[in-house]
């Protein structure tokens, strides 16, 4: 019995940090409507800065002062980020906000390695809380008791701040109606900045307080952000009480899940989240929000199928690409195969996020599931390559069907958070279920059959499948199903009013996208001869997002161009620098701020302007930016 009580208290202690980070995310979202994907990065920075400060100033005062100063310093960095970056994108579409803050996360990950090195750092114990308390023969660290008390104290302080101060009243008012607050003479800019500073302060404090419990490392940002997303989805984004209750719930589920499913404890959390989503999609303490009107896009270029000439040009390009084996060596052909595979992956995400309006931040999960599907079939069942290629992607289909069912219950930022969380869950299963997946060692020796083994044959196979996937997805875009999907994307209410079952359409699109991604993963397994958990990792999901973004998120063919350009650049870049995340993250931020239309989108706008100047018949309305019509 005493053991369970101790386990319960450990859970409560873990909840404190989680609550700090989650409440910060909720507060920021409430006012700015931005889900700050960089929140985990601020948490991690808080831990690193606190580590340095507490090592440097070793007195008790130095320790506690160091923790607070670390949180304040990181909050100051947050203010800088808000003023330099976020202020430029408050009016951008949601997707760009998520991507920009995500790019920031990538940059911070490389920066901390650059400053503090790649190794885990073990911090000092907290002065005054070094010992443990004996509880019927079980030990409870006294620092845990401190954290257990701290959680409710912070909750109380936040409550007073929001209920009893003018600033709090303004923030609550702005959470509901930003424009009205401005129309009453309040300077929103500083309100936003101060809110962001408070949110970042809480995240950094959460990180700083972890140093006596856990080693500081450069992967802690993603670990915490996934848990935080789960917390705010369960508790309701924007609710501080919800963040507290859900943080306790998730931490307790983790603490006891380890006893029930020692290998894959995260399953329990997932199950609870699934139940909450079905019963209360807006979270336990959240409020159902009116279906948000879609943020107007950057351009209104109506999509159209390719003209005959454009089709001929595409075929010509394909023929040229198919001639590559006659001039290129094996290395280039392998690169070519990889690019073809990523074209498949990128168009599958494009289908989901551009056509379906569902920006998935965990699309790699289905890529990886396809890869593992192939590897398991080939190694365990010993099936031939053709059978594996046909059946392997079905694992991606299955995963997409299960996760997609829950994910399409939500939209916008919730959808993005949930897909990211699902992908992390799949990743941790692959990582932890060593007896089946081989864990970190992966599954090796997945080689193609002899007919596809040579680089040129494998290249032709990849290229053919890529061309087929692009054509099929394009046909779907311009089919009745595609129209229904786009109608649901543009106006869920109106499309429902004309009899479209939006959720089912979106779910189908999710499954299609997941299956195609699984196909790409299946080919990838054969290309590399092995599969690893990283084949479903977050950076791969981000890669796919960047490909679509780079090509042009609002175009039909952007994903193809984006995948080719990005993958070629990426392969070159990785050979040039160790700081690929820093460069990649900076690249993402740059695209979002300076180049949001992407390559194809910019080209289209350019062509359109030329056509307009040559013939005045074309409508001038199509390329102009649309503002909110309110």
């Amino acid at each position: 019995m005493a053991f369970y009580v101790v386990q319960f208290l450990t859970g409560l202690a873990s909840a404190a940090s989680l609550f700090l980070v989650a409440s910060g995310l909720s507060i920021i979202f409430g006012v700015t409507r931005i889900v700050n994907f960089a929140h985990g990065a601020f948490y991690m920075l808080g831990a690193y800065v606190a580590f340095t400060l507490t090592e440097r100033f070793s007195s008790a005062f130095g320790f506690w002062g160091g923790i607070v100063v670390a949180a304040l310093a990181v909050a100051a960095i947050g203010v800088l980020v808000e003023m330099v970056l976020l202020r430029r994108i408050y009016h951008s579409p949601e997707l760009f906000q998520l991507l920009a803050t995500f790019g920031l996360t990538l940059m911070v990950e490389d920066l901390v390695v650059l400053i503090w090195g790649p190794d885990d750092l073990v911090g000092r114990r907290a002065p005054g809380f070094k010992g443990a308390i004996d509880f019927f023969g079980q030990n409870i660290p006294s620092y845990d008791l401190f954290l257990i008390v701290l959680g409710p104290v912070v909750l109380g302080v936040l409550w007073l701040l929001f209920q009893r101060t003018r600033w709090g009243v303004l923030v609550r008012a702005a959470t509901q109606d930003r424009d009205m607050v401005a129309a009453l003479g309040v300077n929103q800019k500083w309100l936003f900045t101060s809110v962001f500073a408070l949110g970042v302060f809480l995240a950094a404090l959460g990180g700083a307080l972890q140093i006596p419990r856990d080693a500081v490392n450069h992967a802690m940002d993603l670990r915490v952000i996934v848990e935080v997303f789960v917390v705010v989805v369960i508790g309701g984004l924007g609710s501080i009480i919800g963040a507290f209750v859900a943080a306790v719930l998730v931490s307790e589920l983790n603490a006891f899940g380890i006893l029930i499913f020692p290998k894959i404890s995260i399953i329990l959390v997932f199950l609870v989240m699934a139940v909450v989503l079905i019963v209360r999609p807006w979270g336990l303490f959240g409020k159902p929000e009116a279906p948000a009107r879609r943020t107007p896009g950057l351009t209104v270029n109506p999509w159209r199928p390719l003209t005959t000439n454009e089709r001929l040009a595409a075929i010509a390009v394909l023929v040229v690409a198919a001639a590559l084996p006659f001039v290129a060596g094996n290395y280039l052909l392998t690169v070519g195969s990889e690019i073809a595979i990523f074209v498949i992956f990128a168009v599958s995400l494009h289908f989901l996020m551009s056509v379906g309006g569902l920006a998935s931040f965990g699309h790699a999960a289905y890529f990886g599931l396809g890869a593992y599907g192939v590897a398991l079939l080939a190694k365990m069942a010993g099936l031939p390559m053709i059978a594996c290629l046909l059946l392997g992607p079905l694992l991606g289909l299955l995963g997409a069907a299960v996760f997609g069912f829950f994910a399409v219950q939500l939209s916008g930022v919730y959808f993005a958070m949930l897909t990211l969380a699902f992908a992390q869950i799949v990743w941790s299963i692959a990582f932890q279920w060593v007896s089946v997946t081989g864990g970190d060692n992966g599954i090796l020796g997945v080689w193609p059959s002899s007919w596809a083994a040579s680089p040129s044959h494998f290249y032709w196979l990849s290229l053919g499948i890529a061309a087929l996937a692009v054509v099929i997805l394009r046909i779907i875009v311009f089919s009745p199903f595609g129209f229904a999907l786009r109608a649901t994307r543009d106006s869920p209410l109106r499309s429902e009013a004309v009899g479209i079952n939006g959720k089912r359409i979106q779910w189908t699109a999710f499954v299609i996208a997941g299956t195609v991604a699984g196909l790409a993963g299946a080919l990838f397994a054969y290309l590399k001869g092995s599969v690893f958990p990283d084949n479903m990792g977050i950076s791969l999901s981000v890669d796919a997002l960047v490909m679509v973004l780079l090509g042009g998120v609002e175009t039909v063919s952007g994903a193809v161009v984006g995948a080719i350009v990005y993958k070629a650049l990426n392969i070159w870049l990785v050979s040039q620098t160790d700081l690929s995340k820093l460069v990649l993250g900076g690249f993402v931020v740059l695209i979002v701020v300076a180049f949001p239309k992407g390559i194809v989108g910019t080209l289209e706008a350019f062509m359109h302007r030329r056509r307009k100047s040559s013939s005045s018949a074309s409508s001038p309305l199509l390329t102009s930016r649309i503002e909110s019509a309110e």
Partner: protein
Amino acid sequence: MKLTVNDLNSFYGPAHILFDIALEVGEGEVVALLGRNGAGKSTTFRSIVGLVENRSGRVMFEGSDVSDLPTHAIVRGGLGYVPEERRIFTDLTVEENLEVGRQPKRAGAPQWDREKLFKLFPNLGEMRGRPGGRMSGGEQQMLTIARTLMGNPSLVLLDEPSEGLSPKIVEQMVDAILAMKKEGVSIVVSEQNLHFARLISDRAYIIERGRICFGGTMAELDARPDIRDAHLSL
């Protein structure tokens, strides 16, 4: 002049909404902006306080050009705005709603505080702790006006204050507006209801399809039933 608007043009995306709007409001005057649904009354107000991004023209308030200022700066200068849809903060109590609108005292403008407003709107005084979401439409309308007055404005843009209110509440609204005028607040009130406008206004403009098509005293308007019938639905 308290407020002078010249050549105001506004756009929502590619759509041109307002065409060369010109208005004048004298010190302590109540001016009605009359027009049908969709004529451009609300857009005119939103453009004056800078809530429409895409606009051009000149807005002079108390002798200085405010056309390029952000909304909050215009409002802090003493130009209050009461939106049409009663955008009260439903999660906040009556007193908290008032707190959001509170601004420092301003020389040369009538001063308001909670107690004074509760005298003007006695209903509000009886429900200080009630969340805005649990008030009737009329009470919410009073609260939006009271909230704007907390900023001690010298001029208030009142967007359709009588819309959807019962005749009894409309009567209270007339009294409240006249009381504001007596305190020295200049008022521009947009209305579809000519009867209501006549009870409170010194002068009137008529707006139709984004253009001002009449400006004059109420007596001048009454002398032109043709204009009245052409542009206002009665």
